[in-house]
């Protein structure tokens, strides 16, 4: 599903984000990427959504070599990957349902289908009663659930979660992790970037540890070891 071969990302001669990463993620896996701040976790996410380009190496997603992806193809790639972030990245002037619907609207989905799908996805994340609220009227946990609904609404095969629980308390963290597990059970590949020890240890799934832009450990049923 996802393959990184000798991927290097250099910002300058003395600033290296990733330094020769080799990683393969199978379809349906739940992989946690852990590491201290500045070890290249977010750089990896940015490369996977083509927000940045690798200096060298090859990145393939579902057999599509995105290493040198054309700018015009970036939106197509992003419509196939769900992404959630620590700061939620919701459109502040759109309601909950509009935020979720937007991901479908940009992809050219039909109105009727959007009307059917959006409430269903919001129901999955437990927000069907708040569809007309604006992001600033929601708690952090609720905002993250909206972001999850938006990332899932076009049924992506891959969901990238970059520190999704970084701004949340333990109760909301647990809710988000439970939803991620549920999504994974439906067959979506999950890449969870985090430095939350408890979350990683509780998951008991594959853990890839990064240090100085390199993979220093890659274990199934792994634990947070830093």
């Amino acid at each position: 599903m996802i393959t990184l071969k000798s991927v290097v990302k250099k910002y300058s001669s003395d600033s290296i984000g990733l330094n020769g990463i080799d990683l393969h993620v199978e379809s349906g896996e739940f992989v946690s990427i852990v590491g201290q701040s500045g070890t290249g976790k977010t750089t990896m996410v940015k490369l996977l959504i083509a927000e940045e380009k690798a200096t060298s190496g090859i990145i393939e997603i579902g057999g599509w070599d995105i290493t040198k992806i054309a700018r015009a193809d970036v939106p197509l790639l992003r419509r196939q990957i769900g992404v959630i972030f620590q700061d939620f990245k919701l459109l502040p002037k759109k309601t909950v349902s509009e935020n979720v619907a937007f991901a479908l609207e940009v992809a050219g989905e039909k109105r009727n289908r959007i009307k059917q799908v959006v409430p269903r996805v919001l129901d999955i994340v437990g927000l069907s009663h708040k569809i007309d609220r604006y992001p600033h009227q929601l708690s952090g946990g609720e905002q993250q659930r909206v972001a999850m609904a938006r990332s899932l609404v076009h049924r992506p095969k891959i969901l990238l979660a970059d520190e999704p629980t970084g701004n949340l308390d333990s109760i909301n963290t647990q809710e988000i992790i439970d939803i991620l597990k549920k999504i994974n059970e439906f067959g979506t590949t999950i890449i969870l970037v985090t430095h939350n020890r408890e979350v990683v240890n509780q998951l008991k799934r594959r853990v890839v540890t990064l240090h100085d832009g390199r993979v220093i450990s890659d274990e199934d049923n792994g634990k947070y070891r830093l």
């Binding site: 990245k89 002037k93 992809a107 039909k110």
Partner: protein, 303 residues
């Protein structure tokens, strides 16, 4: 494609209403800019009218010898009329000249009593010429200053009016230069103001642009609402300026008519050129907003 277009239109209306204060601010800036342009047009109309009024005061008179024959006079009149520079020529025969002369000196008893002592009318016919531009008088006068006409033409008033003509010419040229300078200055100021207003508006939405990119929106899907917004802002500002100008011109016209003895001078000019003026202003505002938003947005659309 059509669904995408309607979505873009829907988003642009959402943006306008949900960023109401910013939308109102942008339209206000556009209205102020258009008001400046229209003020400039009013100044130009008034300047042109003043110049025309002054030019109309100037003419060149050709005084014929009283003994000049009808054929000779006709030949010269035809010759003068053939010049494209000549806008109007007015011929006064001997009797008319005599009457005019008496009118001009009605309060001068010495002149009138001298005239009464004369048996014959001592004045020859006069040809009053008006050219399209004061600088053309010199050409006409030169053309008439030839040996063949020496005995037919007694005098020309060119010498008396040359200084005035030169002055008017200099004033006209300088006023026009100043007007161009003012127009360019206004255009630069307007561009800077609009560019910065739009840039600030887009800067406040840079995070949103990034988010839209993140969920897979194409550049055109992001740019589209701004284009529609630009169109709506331009239409609104031009519409508002149309009504504002109507009120302003109705207020100004009575004052203008006192000076130029013409009623509804400004209203008439604007109503005769309304499509050209509004069309040009709309095109300028729309282009400016599109260029400004395009330039301002470019950097946020890169990732």
């Amino acid at each position: 494609m059509i669904a995408g277009f309607f979505r873009i239109v829907k988003f642009s209306f959402q943006e306008i209403f949900r960023n109401m204060s910013l939308s109102i601010m942008t339209v206000l800036i556009l209205i102020l800019m258009l008001l400046s342009i229209n003020t400039l047009i009013i100044v130009k109309v008034l300047t042109d009218e003043s110049i025309t009024a002054v030019k109309n005061q100037i003419d060149v008179s050709i005084y014929f010898n009283p003994e000049a024959t009808e054929d000779e006079i006709t030949e010269i009149r035809d010759y003068v009329s053939a010049f494209p520079e000549v806008e109007q020529e007015n011929f006064l025969d001997r009797d008319q000249v005599f009457e005019e002369f008496k009118k001009n000196y009605f309060d001068n008893d010495d002149v009138l009593s001298s005239l009464n002592e004369l048996v014959d009318n001592p004045l020859g016919p006069t040809l009053i010429i008006k050219t399209r531009d004061p600088k053309d008088y010199e050409k006409i006068i030169k053309a008439l200053t030839v040996p063949e006409y020496e005995n037919i033409i007694e005098a020309k008033t060119f010498g008396d009016t040359q200084t005035a003509i030169n002055k008017i010419h200099a004033i006209t040229t300088n006023v026009q230069k100043f007007s161009y300078f003012l127009t360019i200055l206004f255009a630069i100021i307007a561009f800077i103001i609009i560019f910065n207003t739009i840039r600030v508006a887009i800067y406040t939405q840079r995070a949103e642009i990034g988010i839209k990119r993140l969920v897979g929106a194409t550049s055109w899907f992001i740019r589209g609402p701004y284009l529609i917004e630009s169109l709506l802002f331009s239409l609104t500002s031009v519409g508002v300026i149309y009504f504002l100008m109507n009120f302003l011109l109705k207020f100004l016209d009575p004052y203008v008519s006192v000076v130029f003895q013409k009623t509804d001078l400004l209203s008439l000019y604007f109503s005769q050129n309304i499509w050209m003026i509004l069309g040009t202003e709309f095109a300028i505002v729309f282009l400016l907003t599109i260029i400004s938003s395009g330039l301002a947005m470019r950097r946020y659309l890169r990732t």
